[in-house]
């Protein structure tokens, strides 16, 4: 079982003529990184040169052999995700994220993968997805072994009309999100892509911040950062206006939008283009002026702002966000202040009275869940082994899935 033919290390593929050296720089770099994370294996790694592979490759293989990858769970723009488990313990599930080969970066690791690896291996917090290991396969693909989070994401949760939740549940989710963001910022990491899609839910109901593909550490003064980050609905006004120096408050804005969506159960600030996004924001928060946001008129894209609009009154918030209560509305509005200097920092968010006042946040094991519950378990038990509930092709002879056996 230890050496299945699929996973055995391949020497140079026949087509790759340019690679003559047996040493693969990518595998080596990863092996060093893995070495830092895990205790080295006792004997095999220390004996140099058996079978033509060098130490780094041996270490890489060793990590790789610890995991068994199974069914394909989904595919994104730059990675494919498989379910998997530890070879020695099939009950310990993992998700294996296999980074696709990026034609733009054939000679190295794609920057988003680097970002993800760099920051996830540094951050360890119950509300941030855990990176178990990294290995490379076939000398070119990098796979990240991540925590298995089976219960969907926060966006799916508010979109799922069959689930109902209360103000205390919202507070619990928001609290876990705020802790994750606070922890990132406290370790000088900007996430820069906070959205409902990237907030995954673990089997025990814990919310986990995932997808650090756009994360970076706080910039040094004078160093520019790109303003083309964060999914549009969640992008704060300073990025839309083209700021190149920003701080942790960009993540706080995204957090505020996520919280608002959770209450409304619909998009809070939907827009089709970047300039329209800015106008949508101004519709709610009013057009920023030099008084409310010093220096705003000198920003790169300030011309889009157009005619001055007045902010929505407090009654608008009270009417739409009744579920949050007075404290929650106050916090939400503090998280969504146009001027990033006045907006709450992640630490200030956690210090707000909303968290400690009634109602107390729901315990994570009592939170409503999707894709689970007794009904689903019952459905699963009713099905015969190997059968899917698609309905289509039910009469056709069942196909054996060897993919999951690997």
């Amino acid at each position: 079982m230890a050496h299945s033919p699929v996973l055995s290390p391949k020497p140079n593929p026949p087509g790759a003529g340019s690679r003559i050296t047996t040493m693969n720089p990518k595998a080596k770099a990863l092996a060093i990184l893995n070495h830092a994370n895990q205790p080295p294996a006792p004997s095999t790694a220390t004996t140099p040169g058996d079978g033509g592979t060098d130490l780094a490759e041996q270490m890489n293989d060793e990590v790789r052999r610890k995991f068994v990858s199974g069914a394909r769970l989904g595919e994104g723009t730059y990675a494919v995700v498989y379910s998997g488990h530890y070879r020695h313990d099939p009950s310990r599930l993992v998700a294996i994220k296999k980074i696709k080969l990026n034609p733009e970066h054939k000679d190295g690791i794609a920057p988003d993968a680097i970002r993800e690896i760099k920051h996830l291996s540094e951050l360890s917090h119950p509300n941030i997805i855990q990176l178990h290991a990294i290995f490379s396969t076939k000398e070119q693909n990098i796979s990240l072994v991540l925590e298995h989070l089976p219960l969907g994401d926060l966006e799916g949760l508010w979109k799922n009309q069959s689930i109902s939740y209360s103000g205390a549940d919202i507070k619990s989710w928001a609290s876990m999100l705020a802790q994750a963001v606070w922890f990132c910022h406290e370790n000088y990491v900007l996430h820069r892509d906070i959205k409902g899609n990237n907030l995954l839910i673990a089997a025990d109901g814990t919310l986990k911040l995932a997808d650090f593909g756009l994360a970076r550490s706080f910039a040094d003064p004078g160093r520019v950062m790109t303003s083309m980050v964060i999914t549009r609905f969640y992008r704060p006004p300073e990025l839309l206006l083209g700021c190149l120096h920003y701080g942790g408050t960009v993540d706080v804005w995204s957090m505020g939008v996520v919280l608002a969506e959770l209450v409304l159960r619909e998009w809070f600030l939907p827009a089709d283009t970047d300039s329209q996004q800015l106008l949508v924001i101004c519709d709610v928060f009013g057009t920023p002026t030099e008084e409310t946001w010093p220096g705003v008129t000198k920003l790169r894209n300030a011309a889009i702002l157009g005619v001055a609009k007045r902010p929505q009154p407090l009654s608008y918030w009270r009417q739409r966000f009744t579920l949050l209560g007075e404290d929650g509305i106050d916090l939400l509005r503090s998280m969504l202040i146009m001027d990033p200097a006045k907006r709450f920092s992640a630490r200030k968010v956690l210090e707000h009275r909303y968290w400690t006042n009634a109602p107390r946040p729901t315990k994570k094991e009592d939170l409503p869940k999707q894709g689970g519950g007794l009904a689903k378990v019952g459905e699963d038990l009713k099905r015969r082994a190997g059968e899917t509930d698609s309905g289509r092709g039910d009469k056709v002879a069942r196909k054996l899935d060897f993919g999951s056996m690997r």
Partner: protein, 337 residues
């Protein structure tokens, strides 16, 4: 015939049958019941389906339903109940029975034998008040003694022996139990940090009600120290342990990241920083120089407080790996997850 519920025979011998005590008591009940009840308490025509009040029979009205009132267990038909008790409480129409009955209490009987019906009702009532389980006692013997006294109480009520005294003891016991649970609940609320604005509102609204509650709960609570007030005294009954009061919610869930080795100041006057500091391009986008200061200091001190030897021992026992992974930075955790 009435077989005591299995719960009540807990004090019985291991063979599972009714205990000697309950058997003998039951035979007593059969002997006692007839003379103690009014002469026509068990109508002879119970199977002939004729209402003892209006004398209408099921033969003429197939939908006729008989109801009983747990006050006296006299059977009568539904239309009689409607007729007599619709306008409020009235005395039982059966001759010789003077009890006042209410319409709301009438129900159809579950058991054919009204003696059984009555016994089950009494048992249910006693079991609701005397609801200790084995875990509440220090030893099995104490628990069995308790069950014995429960059984005695039950049979006292069934056989109408010392009814008043028994009822009084039951009431006292119920009040004592209620006071005990209330006192644990109250201690939770009394925690000043948990007393939020909403509970103040309640306090104002139902002020009198609350005061009354406090007054009434105080008396049995004080009495629980003196034995006679609780109605019963059981040996080996464990003192009820109040559940640990829930701590106030900590938004940080026990995590804290504070520098141990340095103090970050709000401002540092360094020549090479003044340009960026005074540049409005930085401040307008929310770039915070303090983040840079604390990060620079954190980087400079990041190796402090890291002891490789300690981490190695930690790595060997895998429970505490979370602490190791973040050990590179100055993270202090109050509790390890």
């Amino acid at each position: 015939m009435s077989k005591p519920a299995p719960r009540a025979t807990g004090s019985s011998t291991k063979d599972g049958g009714a205990s000697f005590l309950s058997n003998s008591l039951h035979s007593l009940s059969i002997q006692h019941q007839f003379p103690s009840k009014p002469a026509r308490s068990v109508p002879a025509d119970s199977s002939s389906d004729i209402c003892p009040v209006c004398k209408s029979s099921r033969y003429l009205n197939p939908n006729m339903k008989f109801l009983v009132n747990p006050e006296c267990y006299h059977k009568m038909c539904e239309s009689c109940v409607d007729r007599i008790f619709s306008h409020g409480p009235a005395p039982c129409p059966i001759a010789g029975c003077k009890r006042t009955l209410r319409k709301a209490k009438f129900r159809s009987q579950t058991f054919e034998d009204l003696k059984v019906e009555r016994e089950v009702d009494i048992r249910r009532r006693v079991a609701r008040v005397m609801n200790k389980v084995e875990a509440d006692f220090e030893s099995l013997k104490d628990f069995n003694d308790y069950l014995e006294s429960v059984e005695t109480t039950t049979w006292n009520l069934i056989l109408k022996v010392d009814v008043e005294a028994t009822e009084r003891r039951l009431r006292l016991w119920e009040a004592a139990q209620k006071a005990e649970t209330n006192s644990t609940k109250r201690s939770l609320v009394e925690d000043p940090s948990l007393l939020s604005e909403t509970s103040h509102v309640i306090l104002k609204k139902g002020g009198t009600q609350r005061k009354q509650q406090l007054g009434s709960t105080d008396d049995p609570l004080a009495g629980s120290g003196n034995d006679p007030e609780t109605g019963f005294v059981f040996h080996g009954l464990k003192k009820r342990v109040a559940p640990e009061p829930e701590k106030p919610y900590d938004p940080y869930e026990g995590w804290s990241i504070d520098p141990q080795y340095y103090v970050v100041q709000d401002d540092y006057s360094v020549d090479w920083l003044t340009k960026a500091k005074d540049d409005p391009v930085h401040s307008v986008g929310g770039y915070d120089m303090r983040d840079f200061y604390s990060r620079a200091l954190s980087d400079a001190f990041s190796g402090f407080g890291v002891f490789i030897e300690d981490e190695k021992t930690l790595e060997e026992n895998p429970g505490a790996t979370a602490a190791v992974a973040s050990g590179g930075q100055d993270v202090n955790m109050d509790d390890v997850f």
